[in-house]
């Protein structure tokens, strides 16, 4: 009996609101006060929302004609294309729409990275966003299998096979996923069921995402908090008008692809019905998975456990003498920033003891030959590349949110973006592309082709990894989060922040008028 309105207001809205609370919804979209200085990068949230609606709508109508059975699936999609009224339109909207959805979400994420939207108090908002990204990726992966073309089948085979990397249970997990001993009818059927379900789970998470946003409102390009009503404008009509304009511009791009280049972002091989006996010469995932695919393939070597053990022992040593290390590193510059992460007092014996124990164990086990196999290492790196986003609010040590006022970080941001594009390109090439330094011995020297240096040495070939562009880009990807963000935050001198949002808006206007 909590918070029921005292009396019924007049009209239809009043009748409903007295019985079912409409205020949360109107608050969310209509009256919601938003910062007055949001730029067009803030349109991408609503664009993502409209793409989710579009995918659900087109997907629902496709599902009315699709048959999820290996003998019927490919034919049913062609039936949609050729016989169903406007079937080709709905199918192309759905296929192109998936790409549009990812473009929009990637820009939305990069907006968050640039303007520090993940920082307190919006950490949970950011987590929900990562959850949305993971759900999108799972949904898209399963959806691509449904047409049952060559890429559908082989992409599914390659990716589901990865789960066999897990020690002991790997094989059982994969057979459980497949419902058999290879990707086949049971797999297709369950992927259809799950692909239909996930978007609705997504809707739920998106609602939570919006509720979390509601708590503290939107971030803004200056990164400073709203100080009062003079910094804000009601969502309607300002941002509704701006969002509608954004929709129009976006639909122009969407329509251009759907009507004039509907297969540009896809792969020709998927118009060949799946054949378990013929592997396509070049298995490539859809473009939005390419960077993650590159990271997965970059780890071509086994990770010896003794290396990890030695690292942990080293860490124990540093922590035991952290006061000495701090004194040596000093307080200035990059070294000083690194020092600031070490505890001021030496770690106690419980802490050191645990580390020494784990380190020695791994060392011994590692010398015994136990390794993390490259396949598993690749899988861990790939999932790690997304999960590390969750640590972002704590990895970024800068007290300033927006990169507009962070001259040093801004450079690293763009380097990160370019690196992501490089990773994407690497993912589209064959596995042997981009090797800059490799080793060979005897016969392998005839067949190995690298982009850079090939050194003949039997011992090196046995013990050393290939240095590829993908590997360097992968290492840089993680270094951005684990090294650059913490350190730059500490040593950077940010530009002076404006006094308030309205002050910065005024300043912009006065400079513009001069």
């Amino acid at each position: 009996m909590a918070h029921a309105p005292q009396e019924e207001k007049p009209g239809v809205i009043g009748w409903i609101d007295y019985r079912l609370p409409l205020k949360p919804f109107t608050d969310l979209l209509y009256d919601f006060p938003a910062p007055r200085n949001l730029n067009y990068f803030w349109n991408f949230g609503s664009l993502a929302g409209i793409m989710l609606v579009s995918q659900i709508l087109t997907g629902l109508f496709l599902a009315m004609h699709y048959a999820a059975s290996t003998s019927l699936a490919f034919d049913s999609v062609e039936h949609i294309m050729r016989n169903v009224n406007y079937g080709w339109l709905i199918r192309y909207m759905h296929a192109v729409g998936a790409s549009m959805f990812f473009i929009v979400v990637f820009i939305h994420i990069f907006r968050g990275l640039y303007y520090g939207s993940y920082k307190r108090p919006r950490e949970l908002l950011w987590f929900l966003g990562v959850a949305i990204l993971l759900l999108m990726m799972a949904t898209a992966f399963m959806g691509y299998v449904l047409p049952w073309g060559q890429m559908s089948f082989w992409g599914a085979t390659v990716i589901t096979n990865l789960f066999s990397a897990f020690p002991l249970v790997g094989e059982s997990i994969v057979n459980w996923l497949w419902g058999g001993f290879s990707v086949d009818n049971p797999t297709l059927n369950r992927f259809f069921a799950l692909h239909f379900l996930m978007p609705f789970v997504l809707v739920g998470v998106v609602l939570l995402h919006l509720m979390a946003l509601h708590q503290h409102g939107s971030n803004n390009p200056t990164g400073i908090d709203v100080k009062g009503p003079q910094d804000q404008i009601p969502f309607h009509p300002y941002y509704t008008a701006k969002d509608f304009f954004g929709f129009g511009a976006f639909f122009l791009i969407f329509a251009a692809f759907v009507f004039f280049a509907p297969n540009y972002l896809g792969h020709a091989d998927n118009y060949i019905p799946a054949d378990p006996l013929v592997t396509p010469p070049h298995i490539v995932p859809e473009w939005y998975f390419l960077p993650f695919y590159a990271i997965l393939r970059a780890i071509t070597f086994d990770i010896a456990l003794w290396v990890i053990g030695a690292a942990i022992l080293g860490l124990a040593l540093v922590l035991r003498y952290s006061d000495v290390v701090r004194a040596v590193l000093g307080t200035k510059g990059v070294l000083g920033a690194v020092a600031s992460f070490l505890p001021k007092k030496a770690c106690g014996w419980t802490c050191i003891g645990t580390l020494l124990g784990v380190g020695t164990l791994l060392l011994l086990v590692g010398f015994g030959g136990v390794v993390i196999e490259s396949k598993l290492a690749g899988v861990l790196a790939m999932f790690g590349s997304i999960l590390i986003l969750l640590a972002l609010p704590w990895l970024d040590t800068s007290p300033v949110r927006s990169s507009n006022y962070r001259p040093i970080y801004r450079v690293f941001f763009w380097v990160f973006a370019v690196n992501a594009v490089i990773l994407g390109y690497a993912g589209s090439q064959t596995a042997d592309w981009g090797i800059l330094l490799s080793y060979c011995a005897g016969a392998s020297c005839e067949t190995k082709h690298v982009m850079g240096l090939l050194i003949e040495s039997a011992w090196m070939e046995k013990h050393f990894i290939d240095i590829s562009i993908s590997l360097i880009s992968t290492i840089y990807y993680f270094a951005h989060f684990l090294v650059v963000l913490p350190i730059v935050g500490r040593i950077e001198k940010p530009l002076p922040l404006p006094e308030s949002i309205s002050a910065s808006v005024l300043a912009k206007h006065t400079t513009a008028h001069h």
Binding site: P33, R36, L57, F61, M64, H65, H79, R82, N83, V84, N85, Y86, G87, L89, I90, G228, P229, Q230, Q232, I233, P234, P237, Y238, F244, S502, L506
Partner: protein, 181 residues
């Protein structure tokens, strides 16, 4: 700007122009949304292959007088009966004006082939399949669901059905073959 209230849109000073603009934009949006919905609705209509589904050819040479067969056409049963001369006489003799759905026997069969009535075997009341071979009081078909009686020409004579049994498009490709649809 030192006001304490959130900034609300100023009172429209050029109201008519602003309204026209917003109205046009809204109208275009509505037209666009409507145009977008139509393909989805139309996609649920019968697809091209279903529409193209052609005819069924039926061999009627083996049907003896007084007997009938039931064939499937477009997912529904179709009766083809070999009427006796007596049936035809009785059917022609009926006073058409007294029928709920007035139709002469001639319009319901093909000229020269009056012994071969062809009709869709779905009761026009609520869709059950009537029982044939001279069923009911009028030597035609009887629907057990709610008691509709049809005569040998397929016309409703008694019971709740509002119209006569539907005659599908058909033609005789030979004396022993009928093409329905």
């Amino acid at each position: 700007m030192g006001s304490n209230t959130p900034h609300t849109p100023a009172t429209p000073d050029s109201a008519p122009r602003r309204d026209f603009l917003i109205l046009t934009a809204q109208a275009m949006g509505a037209v666009g949304a409507g145009a977008l919905i139509w393909p989805f609705i139309d996609s649920m209509n019968p697809s091209a292959d279903v529409l193209a589904l052609s005819s069924t050819e039926v061999d009627i040479g083996a049907i003896a007088e007084g007997q009938e067969i039931k064939v499937m056409w477009r997912g529904k049963p179709v009766f083809i009966r070999h009427r006796t001369a007596k049936n035809i006489e009785e059917a022609k003799a009926v006073n058409v004006a007294e029928l709920r759905h007035p139709e002469t026997d001639d319009v319901r069969v093909k000229k020269g082939k009056e012994q071969w009535p062809v009709m869709v075997g779905v009761c026009t009341h609520l869709g059950c399949i009537p029982i044939g071979s001279g069923g009911g009081e009028y030597d035609g078909w009887f629907c057990p669901c709610h008691g509709s009686h049809y005569d040998s020409s397929g016309r409703i004579r008694k019971g709740p059905a509002p119209t006569n049994l539907v005659v599908p498009p058909y033609e005789f490709v030979s004396d022993t073959k009928v093409k329905i649809g």
